[in-house]
């Protein structure tokens, strides 16, 4: 089951650039939360701080408190543990091209030392079913490479790979922006299904997408979290003038 996320006074930098400025918010468990805002507003940096991917860039750093469940991920856990508990799906589908479909999904489990074939088979099937990909790939699980799938299938494979290790939180950084409309719709359906079991945080520049899948939405602008509220409220009656400008398209 998913857990909630509490963020207190989170700041992040790329080199000298202050990209996140004092972010505070609480993301509820087992729901989908969307983060919107113009490009460069800090929404991607924010999700990358939630699983400590931000710091993999040598010039990047972050300060503040992020509690996932009861764990302060910057104090009480190593990045390796954090990232195992918090899955991530990227903008560009990145299946491992030298691995079969099966091995792609099993890769996270194998890293964690699971070698039992029966367990692996079971988890691979369950994850692919959850990612709505099972029927399309079940006949060539081990014969086809992850890179041989279409873009939309690749992204669902990456989702299956991320949920196979049974994370508590699933971060999605613009997961559909590189996909065609049909594939995008499938991903959105999937998010709808998955949010009962996982806490999902999705970054998107597509406001309709946020409105369709998320219970809560946060609006970022130049490193600040301008407004965070129920999606309905954000899209119908925002409290902040800047949010209103953005969602009505009056903004850059």
């Amino acid at each position: 089951m998913g857990v909630g996320i509490e963020v207190e006074d989170l700041n992040a930098w790329y080199g000298q650039t202050h990209t996140l400025k004092g972010i505070n918010l609480q993301i509820p468990a087992n729901s989908a939360t969307a983060l919107i805002g113009p490009s460069g507003c800090g929404k991607s940096t924010f999700v990358r701080c939630l699983n400590r991917m931000h710091e993999t860039n040598p010039v990047a750093r972050a300060e503040g408190t992020v509690r996932v469940g009861n764990v302060d991920i910057y104090k009480d856990a190593s990045p390796v543990e954090v990232r195992r508990r918090i899955g991530m799906v990227f903008e560009r589908p990145n299946p491992f091209p030298t691995m079969s479909i099966y091995d792609n999904v099993a890769s996270g489990l194998k890293l964690n030392g699971f070698r039992n074939k029966r367990v692996l088979d079971e988890v691979v099937e369950r994850s692919l079913r959850q990612a709505a990909l099972w029927d399309e790939v079940k006949d060539h699980l081990k014969s086809k490479s992850g890179a041989s799938l279409s873009g939309g299938q690749q992204q669902r494979l990456c989702i299956a790979r991320a949920i196979a290790v049974d994370p508590e939180v699933l971060l999605m950084d613009e997961p559909a922006s590189a996909l065609d409309p049909v594939s995008t719709a499938k991903i959105e359906d999937l998010i709808f299904q998955l949010k009962d079991e996982y806490t999902i945080v999705i970054v998107t520049h597509n406001m309709q997408q946020a409105a369709r899948v998320a219970e809560k939405t946060g609006f970022f602008l130049s490193g600040h979290l301008v407004e965070f509220d129920s999606t309905h409220k954000i899209f119908t009656n925002p409290s902040d003038k800047r949010t209103e400008d953005y969602i009505t398209g009056r903004f850059g």
Partner: protein
């Protein structure tokens, strides 16, 4: 949950991670160590053995102290000048063809590929080829044959860097010139080539540095000579060749001269390579590919 990781597994993985980091750092140290071992020892032995006579005197016969490698230095200069004179224009021409005329055509790709493969042919093979082509028909060893052997080795490097450097010239510059009605050949020579010239010059220096230390192709072409070079049609002394002969000789005095010669050679090469690196930020090895 049934498949949460165990702590033991995390510990083993972290240990593997640390081992890997140590090994990667260790291999870097092990790779750089011989470089310093060689350079420091060379500097120590070379400086001890260098003197003015080294640069001004001819070699002396065994048993007579003193003597130098003046004729070898001049000989190397002549051979390298000849090689540059023959190899660089051909290489630049081929590079111009590849970028300005070749485009993505099959012929151009085949030429690129052949140049890369030619770059990997052992230098000793160039030596026997030049011997068979030039020394045998002429019936004598010669500076000319040595120059040809080294020129052939310079061509692929010069070709590939010229092409790469021409690619850095913005197309707008060419189009501007062509738009003024300047014919293509003048555009290439005065606009493209001129704009790319710093890169092309460094490419040529790279090729020069790579052949300057070559010994194997000189064995059966330049052959070596105890006297001052007099003509391109005679056997000629060369620095790397002389270092080789002295290094494998049994005489301490000659060993001393070999170290001095090696120091001079390496300074010559290092200066040009470092200059190349400083000017273009390119590596020694990237030149040929």
């Amino acid at each position: 949950m049934p498949h949460r990781p165990s702590r033991a597994n995390v510990g083993r993985r972290q240990a593997a991670n640390h081992l890997f980091s140590v090994l990667a750092i260790l291999s870097t140290v092990l790779v750089i160590a011989p470089l310093f071992a060689i350079l420091v020892y060379l500097l120590f032995q070379g400086v001890r053995s260098l003197n003015v006579a080294f640069f001004t005197h001819l070699p002396r016969p065994v048993g007579e102290p003193g003597g130098g490698m003046a004729n070898s230095i001049v000989g190397s200069g002549i051979i390298l000048a000849l090689a540059s004179l023959l190899g660089i224009p051909v290489g630049i021409g081929a590079g111009i063809y590849l970028y300005e005329f070749g485009g993505g055509k099959t012929l151009a790709n085949a030429i690129r590929f052949t140049a890369d493969v030619l770059n990997g042919v052992p230098s000793i093979v160039m030596g026997i080829a030049a011997y068979s082509l030039i020394v045998v028909p002429q019936k004598h060893f010669s500076a000319f044959a040595a120059g040809v052997a080294l020129a052939i080795m310079m061509v692929p490097t010069v070709t590939r860097t010229t092409e790469e450097m021409l690619a850095t010239v913005p197309n707008a510059v060419r189009e501007a010139a062509l738009g003024l009605g300047i014919p293509k050949w003048r555009t290439v020579m005065t606009v493209s080539l001129k704009t790319a010239s710093p890169g092309i010059i460094t490419g040529c220096m790279l090729a020069f540095a790579r052949v300057a230390g070559e010994t194997a192709p000189l064995l059966f072409t330049a052959f070596g000579n105890q006297f001052w070079p007099a003509s391109l049609n005679e056997p000629i002394a060369a620095l790397p060749l002389q270092i080789f002969v002295y290094a494998v000789s049994p005489y301490d005095e000659w060993h001393r001269l070999a170290w001095a010669g090696a120091l001079v050679l390496i300074v010559l090469i290092m200066v040009s390579v470092t200059l190349v690196r400083v000017v273009t930020g390119r590596g020694m090895l990237n030149g040929g590919h």
